[in-house]
Subunit: 464 residues, 2 copies
């Protein structure tokens, strides 16, 4: 029986960084993963979906430039093969990192037992003084409609498509649904997007929903909000769906993206005395310790937000806490991104959240049409919204819809983490011409001194 300081269960973003950090801290580490290293993110989430976006957006951007005579043919099979090859490359990168850090990787399913024992599906048993659980989440299905990976897909099996569908029904207009709707529509698939709540991206600022609805509709995406799937009929080579609004749709495929469920059942957590919350997520304290002091957890299995970069941070904390360092997970800001067109970023508090938290809230919104870069990028309906505490002018939240916005989320998070004020942001020189100027200009606008926006006369300073 192999003995370790730490066994990490799960090779995704909540797992492999915990193994790497443990090794850096001198611990002997095993990692157990029965699927592909890199987990949901690398194999079925962030990486393949963002790979799908890249060529499509590039092509789209080009096809709108009138001075380029363009003819192109996207070989869908090669496209999807390339998407999967990026995942494989990144997954191999994770394997290489684990090798470099002398982490023993077991290709098996793990089950917790008592006394620090971990039973593997291949019959082997490992032992460790500390265990990190990072088993992630699985896609949730619609009630009574199982995934079959042929007609009814989740975010994993949809990546197996090698023939371009002519029509697809996407159920759920959260970020996965919206990202797929955008990409599919741009490669020429007829997209029907069905959302039970009353707008697309229902969990985000309403401004985003409006912009995205407009953009998707312009691509020909049919959006059905406040609409449910009543019934699904599987035929030989297509699927038939009846919606709650009476519409009947036939399509080659249905992609269901209606949520996630924690992968925490049947892996011995109860037996090991690890408490779950009512939704099945592992309860942890701020050092990522579970109710069993020898067992830690990180990543999606600890609950929302279900984001790779949150998992990274938690994994590091778990490893450091196990090694005896004082390490806590307590971020003020975790960026959420939707890699749609335009990219959408939400960091820190929304206006509603800030009010609910009792702040004296100031909010300023700047349309980005006045930024030279937005003209170059042909994205004049972009905008940025900043939420701040109105007396100290401390920044509480930053929300952006615009080209390259995903690369600005880090700055937004840094500003919030460091307690930056509007003055800090407005006095930091941002380079011209970039979309990053939006962060400076919105702070300037909030301070009533914008460079590229006309203040109405009555709102000028009292001297005016």
């Amino acid at each position: 029986m192999e003995n370790y300081d730490v066994i990490v269960i799960g090779g995704g973003p909540g797992g492999y960084p915990a193994a790497i950090r443990s090794s850096q801290l001198g611990l002997r580490v095993a990692l157990v993963e029965q699927g592909r290293l890199g987990g949901e993110c690398v194999n079925y989430g962030c990486i393949p979906t963002k790979s799908m976006v890249k060529p499509v957006e590039t092509l789209w951007s080009l096809s709108r430039m009138g001075f380029i005579k363009l003819s192109f043919e996207v070989d869908f099979e090669s496209y999807m093969n390339w998407v999967n090859s990026v995942s494989s490359k990144v997954s191999e990168g994770v394997a290489g990192l684990l090798r470099g850090y002398s982490v023993d990787v077991y290709d098996a399913k793990a089950r917790l037992s008592e006394g620090g024992l971990v039973e593997l599906s291949d019959g082997r048993v490992l032992k460790a003084s500390k265990i990190v659980v990072s088993t992630g989440t699985d896609p949730a299905a619609l009630p009574n409609i199982e995934f079959d990976g042929a007609l009814i897909h989740n975010n994993r099996t949809i990546l197996g498509l090698r023939k371009k569908p002519s029509r697809i029904i996407i159920v759920g207009a959260g970020y996965i649904g919206v990202e797929f709707a955008n990409v599919m529509a741009k490669v020429g698939v007829e997209v029907h997007l069905v959302e039970a709540l009353d707008r697309v991206l229902p969990m985000m600022e309403e401004d985003f929903s409006k912009l995205l609805s407009r953009r998707l509709s312009r691509l020909g995406v049919k959006i059905y909000t406040s609409t449910r799937i009543e019934e699904v009929d599987r035929r030989d080579s297509y699927v038939k769906a009846r919606l709650s609004n009476g519409v009947e749709l036939e399509a080659n495929h249905m992609l269901v993206a209606v949520g996630r469920k924690p992968n925490t059942r049947g892996i011995g957590l109860e037996k090991a005395g690890v408490e779950l919350d009512e939704r099945g997520y592992v309860k942890v304290d701020e050092s990522m310790k579970t109710s069993n002091p020898s067992i830690y957890a990180a990543g999606d299995s600890t609950g929302p937000p279900l984001l790779a970069h949150k998992a990274f941070a938690q994994a590091i904390v778990a490893a450091e806490a196990i090694a005896g360092l004082k390490s806590f997970y307590d971020p003020k800001a975790i960026p959420s991104i939707v890699f749609a067109d335009p990219e959408i970023v939400s960091v820190g508090l929304t206006e509603a959240e800030a009010k609910k938290a009792g702040y004296n809230v100031g909010v300023t919104k700047l349309p980005l049409g006045g930024l030279a870069r937005a003209v170059i990028e042909d994205s004049l309906d972009s905008f940025i919204k900043i939420v701040y505490e109105d007396s100290s002018k401390t920044i509480l939240g930053i929300h952006i819809a615009g080209p390259h916005a995903s690369e600005l989320a880090g700055e937004a998070a840094l500003a919030i983490e460091m307690g930056a004020t509007l003055e800090d942001l407005s006095s930091t020189i941002h380079p011209h011409p970039t979309i990053s100027e939006a962060l400076q200009e919105v702070a300037e606008l909030a301070l009533r001194k914008p460079k590229h926006f006309i203040l109405r006369r009555k709102s000028l300073s009292p001297n005016g």
Copy 2:
């Protein structure tokens, strides 16, 4: 004779924001500009050159994706017309802002006289209690080789090209030369890049020079470093150049980008008692006041760095100081960007500058090949370098070569302005998968805890 609180001379980035801010502060403002509003940046610099880059990089990126069968034809004339149309749009935007702020715009050349008088080339005379000089710089020519705008171009006249040259000689491998070399090579022009110093981008970190030389050479650009132009022969429709290394070149055009000279002579500055430095730049204090307390200056005419975003900041300070606010120009970090492939960013101190300034310097460089986003973007030779004070771990400089790097410069500047430490940067959650993760990961590497980089065993922590 019209009477103003403030007259701004020059409608570029050092001028128009000074006019706008003055108006916001309740002052009566005139702006005098004999050329196009927006100045060098909007009409001949940042905006048209970045517009040139955008479609070319998009096309380039696409042409490297094997799964897309692509055929395209760039109509050079329409391309350059589009580039100029972006400039026009942005210039009209500036005009709109000035109208919105009730700034009187005079289309004339201005000359300072005594007692707050400004004489216009159309004979009118204006008067103001305060004047802001923002007359910018002009392109410097090679000794004895005048610009003719037909064969021998500067950054202004080159934008008049409507026929794609088959061969061009670019003199000077600073950022203008490098940006044009990249774009021209990618649209199929044979480019010869001649630099008197011993590397391309001679004013920047040497790592950047190596990367850019490699990338440009791969595009077929012939680079001649430590080489001067000895002689230029103008023929009817082409130019012949003899280089100091003996090579003789014939080309359709020559673009000279060897520096700038301040536009401060012959506009009455001496008469108005405004002191210039030995290079001809206007001397200013930290509130942008010149040696004449009624005259302020902002932008390029005050000396390097010659950057639009620096001019913006100085313009605001000048206007606020004139209005009696306590406003000082004292940034710790001004981003420099080269919009090449990849984009290059330099913010704060280089390693050499930090050592020279007496800091106990730590430097960490992270290749970005381990970032998932760099795999998606197919830019594995990208890198980031962070310079910090080694005991406090305070960040002094950040230098990046990579896709989207221009959008990360704002975060780098904010970190330096706020006195962020490596720990601040490493504990800020950056979204996955983005290039912005480079900022977090390089800080983690400097702290010996990288997630996606293998530390050599001996450099692991003492516990290891």
